[in-house]
């Protein structure tokens, strides 16, 4: 496979042609903040947190869905990018009802820690306070739409890793929401295998183990990595 040579933050980087800018940067030890990206599943470019500047285009491009190209010049840290990332995080916080103090994921939430890392000490936009429900019909898991940022990680692990295809997105824009099967109560879903991969993948407190209370929802992502690694490296296939 052909290798491409590009510059990320002034550093010469070489990567295979089907590599994303995000992976090429990670390989070079350059961290780009992400929310919807999850190791092992395809990228959706949903959260816009990994936006980077690419020389020759005025638009900011998501590093997770942009492939490397020969001679590409990428900037991952600038005042403009920090401004946009901060704005993105503030809009996510204002969109639904993120009440960190009483959230199952308090202290283990990727949205909360990214807001902290970006120095967000208040949100400049008016909170929308929409009315969303909680689906507590599943015997083991719960889905609180109030805390969902529509990253679609749960949808992608459900389809791509578990292969059940239970989770999906309904609606448009800010009114989009996560559904199970044909928008029916999770507990009534016939396709859900109760594997819990969606719960492991969720970056916030939207998906949780039932019975967890404030701050108790810690996720062990290594379980997902374990499955993905096993599949990619064909570790479970016994050769003759």
């Amino acid at each position: 496979m052909a290798a491409k040579t590009l510059k990320i933050d002034g550093r010469q980087v070489s990567a295979a042609e089907d590599t994303t800018v995000l992976d090429a940067a990670a390989e070079a030890g350059i961290r780009i903040p992400t929310l919807c990206h999850l190791e092992g599943v395809y990228d959706a470019g949903a959260c816009r947190l990994c936006l980077v500047e690419v020389a020759g285009t005025a638009k900011l491009l998501p590093a997770c869905t942009t492939l490397v190209a020969e001679g590409m010049e990428v900037v991952t840290q600038s005042d403009r990018l920090r401004r946009y990332r901060r704005m993105t995080l503030e809009l996510l916080l204002a969109e639904r009802n993120h009440v960190c103090a009483v959230c199952v994921a308090n202290g283990h939430c990727e949205l909360q820690s990214l807001a902290s890392e970006h120095g967000i000490d208040h949100v400049r936009y008016d909170y929308r306070f929409p009315r969303w429900g909680v689906d507590a019909t599943h015997p083991r898991f719960g889905l609180d739409h109030n805390r969902c940022i529509l990253c679609t990680r749960c949808v992608r692990v459900c389809w791509h890793i578990e292969g059940a295809g239970t989770k999906n997105v309904a609606g448009r824009g800010a009114k989009s929401f996560i559904i199970d099967d044909l928008n029916q109560p999770w507990g009534d879903s016939e396709s859900c295998t109760s594997c819990g991969k969606c719960v492991l993948a969720c970056p916030t407190g939207a998906l949780f183990d039932r019975g967890s209370t404030v701050g108790e929802m810690e996720r062990d992502r290594t379980k997902l990595e374990f499955i993905v690694n096993a599949r990619e490296k064909k570790q479970w296939i016994v050769s003759e």
Binding site: L93, N97, H98, V99, C100, A101, V102, C103, N106, G107, C109, Q112, S113, A115, S116, E117, G119, I120, D121, H122, V123, D126, Y127, F129, P130, R131, W132
Partner: protein, 182 residues
């Protein structure tokens, strides 16, 4: 230099931020040596005075009394600190905003009628019980704020850092740790 004039106010919140303030322990003695507490729920002063240097405002703005006092505080205070998550984000008190339009009617109905076990009745006492606002709001949606101190509650360490800077005549802000909600 004159003694610093400090105030704290308590709006829609659980007083946990004030507990964190009291958690300053021996620094409170040091503070008392250099500053006067001129208004606070922990002292018996009814009227918010003029010429306050710093005011820590805990809680979201929930009713007309809160609103009126907040405007008075803003007019009479140099540095207004939005103190804790309820003041900064609305936090738990603002959960009622989800009850949508005709919010006041809905929230009272929900709390005092629908979920009442005994004697369901709306509390009404004009001039004594303040009227609720249609929407619970964070402090900075209403008046300009100089310093944001998020956290539920903000740690005593952060409060101390801020007050020490103010006592030293430095610009009021919190460096140190990254801010964090929750």
């Amino acid at each position: 230099m004159d003694r610093l004039r400090i105030a704290t106010a308590w709006f829609g919140g659980c007083a946990g931020c004030h507990m964190s303030f009291l958690d300053l322990d021996e620094f409170l003695i040091e503070l008392a040596g250099k500053a006067d507490l001129v208004f606070s729920p922990v002292i018996d002063v009814k009227e918010y005075p003029e010429n306050v240097d710093v005011c820590l405002v805990e809680g979201a703005i929930c009713n007309h009394d809160n609103l009126e006092l907040l405007h008075r505080i803003r007019k009479r205070t140099k540095v207004l600190v939005s103190f804790g998550d309820c003041a900064v984000t609305g936090n738990v008190p603002a959960i009622r905003n989800q009850l949508g339009p005709r919010n006041v009617e809905n929230v009272l109905q929900c709390a005092y009628i629908d979920n009442a076990q005994d004697n369901p009745r709306l509390p009404r006492s004009e001039g004594i019980v303040p009227e609720l606002l249609e929407r619970v709001r964070p402090v900075h949606e209403i008046v300009p704020v100089e310093v944001f101190l998020p956290g539920c509650p903000p740690s005593a360490g952060k409060i101390k850092e801020l007050l020490e800077r103010v006592l030293a005549g430095l610009p009021p802000r919190v460096d140190g740790d990254e801010p964090r909600f929750g």
